[in-house]
Amino acid sequence: MNQLPILTILTLLPLLGGFIVVGIQDKRIARCFALGLSYLSLALALALWKSFDATNGALQFVEKHEWIPTLGVQYFVGVDGLGLLMVLLTSIVVPMALLVSDRITDRVSLYHGLILFLQAGLIGAFTALNFFHWFIFWELSLIPAFFLVRLWGGANRAPAATQFFIYTIVGSVAMLLSFLAIFHAAGKMDFIELAEMGRNGSLAGALSTNLGWYGLNSKPLVLIIAGGVLLGFAVKVPLMPFHTWLPSTYAEAPTPVTMLLTGVMSKMGVYGFIRVLLPLFGLQIGGERAQAVLLTLVVITIVFSACAAFAQKDLKRILAYSSINHLGYCLLAVFAVVKFTNAPEFGTEKAAALNGVFLQMFNHGLTAATLFMFVGFIEQRSGGVRGLNDFGGLRKTIPVFCGLMGIALFSSLGLPGLNGFIGEFLIFKGVFPLTPWAAGLSVIGILVTAIFILTIIQRVFAGPLNEKWAKLPDLTLRERVLVAIPIALMFVLGLWPRLVLDVINSTAVRMVEQLKF
């Protein structure tokens, strides 16, 4: 292993950078330093993307060192197509968020330091393959996020941050307990080895022989442990009914933090489902009764969140619910895939669904972050007003803003030609043959999404001009350049999805092949 430990560098760079930034007194220098570091990370992530062998779906850039041998702890990192995509997404969204952080004037150094810590946590969580340090990074991303919401958030930030923290900590604790039980039973913390055990059934066996608990026989015990892991991820995505922290957190967090929360942190949950839960407990959550429950929950998530978005009056809350809705499609595909783990005749459908999930994760991260960025722009101009009914006729005063945000909105709606469509198409292509009823009900979500997105356009952009905003300034050149990049990406990915698909396809195919029990 003579190659550069690029994943370690990618993780440590923001971590160490964060410590340095916190110590810098001068606001401007701290800001520039943080930005510079985020650009450097982006460059490294792009280099990683470039040197990734797309024909090979296995883990690459692997670094593995013994750490605490008695506890089975190793320092073990590596990425496949999915991890790579998420690292790239993180490295794109962080500079976007930092660039719109110029409104933060209070404790600038601490703020930028915390964002860098968050980045380190995210990249660490997307690359770590041993539970021990994976969990450290998982929590490392939570703590800065909590303080970012708590210290720089809106008027109701305190309860929102508390709710966010409690929810995620409960999920984390449940997951930690489950993993300690797993470690106790199997003596391993290595995801890859555990996945192998999950596949050949020895994990469930080990759990039931090594853990006796109130005389529970093996099946419910394994289900409880799987449920603990599931809860940890379900809160993060979120899956209803573990979602109530999300709207208020997204609404109260400062815009750049919301961009990170929805753009990247929400993907950690989906990532966890695919990387950890599916390989380890595919058999358990793929069981008929678990499936019925999970698929029902996910359909409810998709439809309810879209409908709830329609009833909101705050732009940020609308987008927050829309975020739940979009990630719901990811979980729909994940659950549909796991239902048919032992059906080789559905290989194409499962690969389509997984590829769709990967694409949807990336595209949603890009689009949702951009949309929140636009809301941030309008909030900045209106002095904090961001109600659905507070505006009207803005196309007349700020046409460029409306045009560009319109593109992002239509991308979120899933218009073909923009990035949102192809992920949803592949998901439904995969899911429809697997669970027609769930797919059929979930398209209601697509319809309602169109309704609330067009309502935003109707109320905010169209109609007679609200005289109060007659002098609103349009996007500055800097802001235009800033949004032009993600919007250009939306077009490119919408028309030429191969750019991403060719890199992730082998990973999806490999995962489908490996998901056999």
Binding site: L177, C307, L415, G417
Partner: protein, 701 residues
């Protein structure tokens, strides 16, 4: 492969390029964007002619469908994981291409006059070009996915153009209504695509025998049955047809189309009369093999085709009856469009591709003509759209009057000289011979009578009699319009109606010629059009055909006569006079005028339910779940305290220090931000305790 087949993508690419470029130029580059749009359309038209000539040459070959397919992306391993897109050149494509580019060019030219004073002139041409590109994309698609993508883009362009005057709340609402109503259909269409993809393994229509509209795949789908005993092919066909119903304004998804008249009139002409709304008909024609496939020896009419025929027939007469009682010049035409689209569907369902498509083509010309004529009238009458406030316009706008009369005759199906007669008769003939039921035929005949009647009513109220507009009214929108000084126009008072500029009347004249001449290509004596589209059983003027023609002629004359008798003989004198039809028994006129209350019905049911359900979801979320979570969190915290205290007393050795450290950390944190984090940290501490307990417990066994 011929050059034109390989490069057919250029046809939509040209307007797309124009749209992209003019989206980037500033608003003041009016000339640039208009000439770019028109130039690209002319280019597309020339290419379409080339493609048409190629298709003509190729016609009669065994394989008249030439395709070009390419891999777009790969989403799984192997061949099944390659998603291909492509385009096809066949007679259907060729005919539609020429029609759309030709009418499109004319309407683009017309728009330079109509929109000359609009602030967002540049944007208008951007959207028009985008529309043209997407529409042409639908036509050339050889993949249902590519077709669907363009289909959605067409919906977007339509949305943008209906809401073009975005400052009008009615326009913004109409745009949203259009997009969402069509999207209801599209969601079913989407499911149909998924199902078809699963069954056929491909979404390419034609792929040297492996396409989803070719024998192998069709046979596979027709031999399986699904819910309600439907063949899978028919079920998929019906799902796709629901998409077509949305876009083509078929009952009960027609409600958006009349509201779409909020858009500028050229938009109504191009999108909501001639081309886009016909996309649904085109879609059915494109997937006709799927709809029509049936088991050997089974009943000849498949469920899918029956659905098409019935929906079409009901829509045809339903919309025509509404048109009878409308007073807005554009709304009458809008309902007439809905009704005519119903005829096309009926033609497809009962007679096949050629019958439906022939009416689509002729209708595109005369309906574009009528809408542009209406636009000219509206323009001339200072943006007035109420026909009760018009009258006598023939004296002010002779060119518009004459061309409008041609369009009206064609739409009414006036015998022999007008194209509408031939295409409508073909549909009635097909419906007459339909094996399932004769009812669609009678509905069609009733619709024909109503069509002739309402068009005569409109004609009489707008062009005959005396001008009823308010002459003394102060000029509103177009007082500064240079149009009033055009030569050869009887310029009356300053506020009198005036003829439109050359850029608007020239397209009218060209379309009027087409509205007459096009009939010649599809008469029973020389059914060239039908045989070009692959329908080879022309019958000539048999006894049946002539008998039917006489019948329909009589029906049309009855409609014309009644219209003239009621509205032409004695003109209304004032604007407020009640309509003659209000004397009809049982409040029929009110039903017609209120569109059978369908909008209100939806308002009361679907829309209210949607809003109610959204509120329920939000309330469940905020109140119920929120409180539940809050309680849970309090409960957890309380449990944490109790547990902590318990631990301190019971196991106060090893863990005391641990808790101490945790609480010191908590104090540190709380100094950082003064919140109540120590509580949660304590929760973690407790959790750790529980965990250790658990491990000890489990490990003991």
């Amino acid at each position: 492969m011929a050059w034109i087949v390989k490069n057919l993508w250029l046809v939509p690419a040209l307007p797309l390029l124009a749209a992209g470029l003019s989206a980037l130029v500033p608003q003041r580059s009016r000339k640039f964007s208009a000439s770019l749009a028109i130039g690209s359309m002319i280019g597309a038209f020339l290419l379409s002619l080339w493609a048409f000539a190629h298709a003509l040459q190729h016609n009669g070959h065994e394989n008249a469908k030439e395709v070009f397919n390419f891999a777009w992306l790969q989403f799984a391993s192997g061949d099944a994981g390659i998603l291909k897109l492509g385009w096809v050149l066949d007679p259907l494509t060729a005919v539609m291409l020429v029609m759309v580019t030709f009418i499109g060019t004319l309407i683009f030219i017309y728009s330079t006059g109509y929109m000359a004073h609009d602030d967002n002139f540049t944007r208008f041409f951007t959207f028009l070009s985008l529309f043209a590109a997407a529409m042409l994309g639908i036509i050339i698609s050889n993949s249902l996915l590519l077709l669907f993508m363009c289909w959605e883009l067409v919906g977007l362009a339509s949305y943008l153009l209906i809401g073009f005057w975005y400052h009008k709340p009615s326009a913004a609402a109409a745009a949203k209504k259009a997009f969402i109503t069509t999207r209801i259909g599209d969601v079913c269409f989407f499911l149909g695509i998924m199902w078809l993809y699963h069954q056929a393994g491909t979404l390419l229509f034609y792929d040297n025998g492996a396409g989803c509209m070719e024998q192998t795949a069709l046979l596979k789908m027709v031999t399986q049955t699904t819910y309600f005993g439907l063949a899978v092919s028919a079920a998929i066909g019906i799902l796709i047809f629901i998409g077509a119903m949305g876009k083509s304004g078929q009952f009960p998804l027609h409600v958006w189309l009349p509201d779409a008249m909020e858009g500028p009139t050229p938009v109504s002409a191009l999108i909501h009369a001639a081309t886009m709304v016909a996309a649904g008909v085109f879609l059915v024609a494109r997937v006709y093999p799927l709809m029509a496939v049936h088991m050997d020896g089974a009943a000849v009419e498949t469920a899918a085709l029956q659905a098409v025929a019935w929906v079409g027939a009901i829509t045809a007469v339903f919309a025509a009856s509404i048109a009878v009682a409308q007073n807005d010049i554009k709304r009458i035409l809008a309902y007439s469009t809905v009704s005519q689209l119903g005829y096309m569907m009926m033609g497809l369902g009962t007679g096949g591709v050629a019958v439906g498509m022939f009416h689509l083509i002729t209708h595109a010309f005369f309906k574009a003509l009528l809408f542009m004529g209406a636009g000219s009238v509206i323009h001339g009458c200072h943006e007035e759209q109420d026909i009760r406030k018009m009258g006598g316009i023939r004296n002010f706008m002779p060119a518009t009057f004459l061309t409008y009369a041609v369009g009206m005759m064609a739409l009414s199906g006036f015998p022999v000289f007008f194209s509408g007669f031939w295409s409508k008769d073909a549909i009635l003939h097909a419906a007459h011979g339909w094996s399932v039921s004769h009812l669609p035929f009678y509905l069609g005949v009733a619709g024909a009578f109503l069509t002739a009647f309402y068009m005569t009513r409109q004609m009489a109220l707008v062009f005959l009699g005396k001008y009823r507009g308010e002459k003394s009214q102060s000029p509103r929108h177009h007082a500064k319009s240079p149009l009033v000084v055009l030569k050869g126009v009887p310029v009356g008072g300053e506020n009198d109606p005036h003829e439109s500029p050359r850029s608007m009347t020239m397209p009218l004249i060209i379309l009027a010629i087409c509205a007459i001449a096009l009939g010649a290509i599809g008469t029973p004596a020389w059914p060239w059009f039908q045989s070009f589209l692959g329908d080879h059983h022309g019958e000539g003027f048999t006894y049946d055909v002539i008998q039917l023609m006489v019948t329909s002629t009589l029906v049309v004359f009855a409609g014309l006569g009644l219209g003239l008798w009621l509205y032409g003989r004695k003109q209304r004198n004032t604007v407020d006079e009640p309509d003659v039809l209000e004397k009809l028994p049982m409040g029929m006129h009110a039903w017609f005028a209120n569109k059978y209350g369908i909008d209100e019905l939806y308002e009361m049911t679907v829309i209210r339910f949607n809003a109610w359900f959204a509120r329920v979801c939000a309330t469940i979320d905020e109140k119920f779940l929120g409180i539940l979570v809050l309680l849970l969190s309090y409960f957890t915290v309380a449990l944490g305290w109790v547990s902590n205290a318990f631990d301190n007393f019971v196991i106060n050795l090893g863990f005391d220090q641990g808790c101490e450290r945790v609480s010191r950390g908590g104090k540190l944190m709380s100094r950082l931000q003064g919140g109540r984090v120590q509580i949660y940290l304590r929760v973690i501490g407790v959790a750790l305790v529980v965990l250790v307990l658990f491990l000890i417990w489990g490990g003991g066994k």
